[in-house]
């Protein structure tokens, strides 16, 4: 787990449209990461 004040780990990947996305793209903005177990499962 991570604690408040820790440096957010850098990441880079692709979204569902194939666009490249990386944390550095959002410098200066608040970023919310929402992890979910499997596309389209309830709960």
């Amino acid at each position: 787990m991570l604690n408040p004040g820790d440096k957010a780990p850098d990441f880079a990947g692709r979204d569902h449209e194939g666009n490249a996305v990386k944390l550095a793209d959002f410098k200066g903005k608040t970023v919310v990461l929402w992890f979910y177990p499997k596309a389209d499962t309830p709960g």
Binding site: M1, H16, F26, T30, V31, W34, F35, Y36, P37, P42
Partner: protein
């Protein structure tokens, strides 16, 4: 800015995004790199844990939650920004 993250393929996430008309990107972390870095890969045999993270504009962790409500949390956070 909200980013959804799961270990699903782009095709699976595209269906998910279209079904619910999400207007934010769904990252396809198929090799679980992001999930591992953020503590969401609790069980390698299963999908991502329902971790919620808020990163401040300076790139530091503002909040880390080990289990968030799937529907209510993203909306509540976006409303608070």
């Amino acid at each position: 800015m909200i980013l959804g993250v799961s270990f699903d393929t782009p095709a699976e996430n595209k269906k998910f995004a279209e079904k619910f008309s999400f207007n934010f990107p769904l990252l396809c972390d198929t090799d679980r790199t992001i999930g591992t870095a953020y503590g969401a890969n609790a069980d390698p045999g299963k999908g991502a844990a329902r971790v919620g993270v808020i990163i401040d504009p300076q790139g530091r962790i503002k909040e880390w939650h080990g289990r968030v409500d799937a529907r209510a949390w993203p909306a509540a956070v976006v409303a608070s920004l």
